[in-house]
Symmetry: C2
Subunit: 183 residues, 2 copies
């Protein structure tokens, strides 16, 4: 009951906030956009949709509009929208930054659902702070490398540092862009 959807579940739930879609429609989105990183293919998507429906977070009904074959069109229920809002408004944890940065980006991409610019801004501020903190931690790790460490692991750590720094820079730039936006 209190079982939360997985990242894929939230991705599907989020997409359905754009309007009713069938499983096939959703698959196409995953197949053609960068969202494809969050998995793909029928074996994951159809079961995930079934789980969301069992949890009453989405509602499926048959699209009897003519055309090809009957399709199941899903849309979020009230409970589904509420679950989505809860997920979107979670605070950004240390753990999220360290190990689930792409889930954070997914959350950000769906923040439009809230129609609350302030919330988007707060997300970016928090993200920049947390990422900065993690960069500091990574730099500390770099300083702890014993001198005989080969160059490759050193450089790999460097890569991590630079990717997170890029993320922090992006967050600050995005914050400015969001503030400029007319709503």
């Amino acid at each position: 009951m209190t079982a939360h959807p997985t990242t894929l579940g939230y991705a599907l739930l989020g997409l359905l906030h754009q309007g009713p879609r069938s499983g096939y429609d959703l698959r196409k989105v995953f197949a053609t956009t960068a969202l494809g990183n969050y998995s793909s293919s029928p074996g994951a998507i159809y079961p995930a949709l079934a789980r969301l429906e069992r949890a009453k977070l989405i509602d499926g009904r048959v699209d009897q509009a003519r055309s090809l074959r009957p399709r199941m069109l899903y849309q979020p229920t009230k409970a589904g929208s509420a679950a989505m809002r809860r997920w979107l408004t979670q605070p950004i944890s240390h753990e999220d930054v360290e190990r689930r940065i792409d889930e954070l980006m997914l959350r950000f991409a769906f923040l439009w659902i809230l129609e609350d610019r302030r919330r988007t801004e707060r997300f970016l501020v928090e993200l920049a702070e947390q990422v900065d903190a993690y960069v500091t931690e990574l730099k500390r790790q770099r300083s702890l490398h014993p001198p005989e460490t080969p160059i490759q692991p050193r450089l790999a750590l460097e890569a991590g540092i630079e990717q997170y720094q890029a993320c922090a820079r992006w967050a600050r730039k995005a914050l400015i862009a969001v503030r400029k936006e007319r709503t």
Copy 2:
């Protein structure tokens, strides 16, 4: 038989190339370093070690050196080293860049095992090329956004673009650093 180790398996196998370690030692590495991103905790590590041993890629023997309790010390077998070398020298695929970039970084971190600077250089060249290609693809996706797209998904895609660009920049910088290295 031809079943390949998972990313976690390769991470363990790679660490064992630094010298014999126990499961506990390995857990500590995962718990305290950035490697922790590649999972953690007994429930994953001990079974992974058991699989590697069943596949004859590592060899465990009891450390009867005094001190605390008996520990199982693992080290790679010849087959294990060969499997590692095969993994490390795989070409970098489009798919790797899109969906397994952190596995690529793990591979890079373990390239020291090959003791072949050229190989490291080639890896970085290939990576930069492939990442550039993916950045191009992401920019194309950005240009395809319909004008009414909310700002958040746009910015999220922007984040992806900038992280990959940071990765490409890093690869070129790292290439220079590796070339400078005396071996």
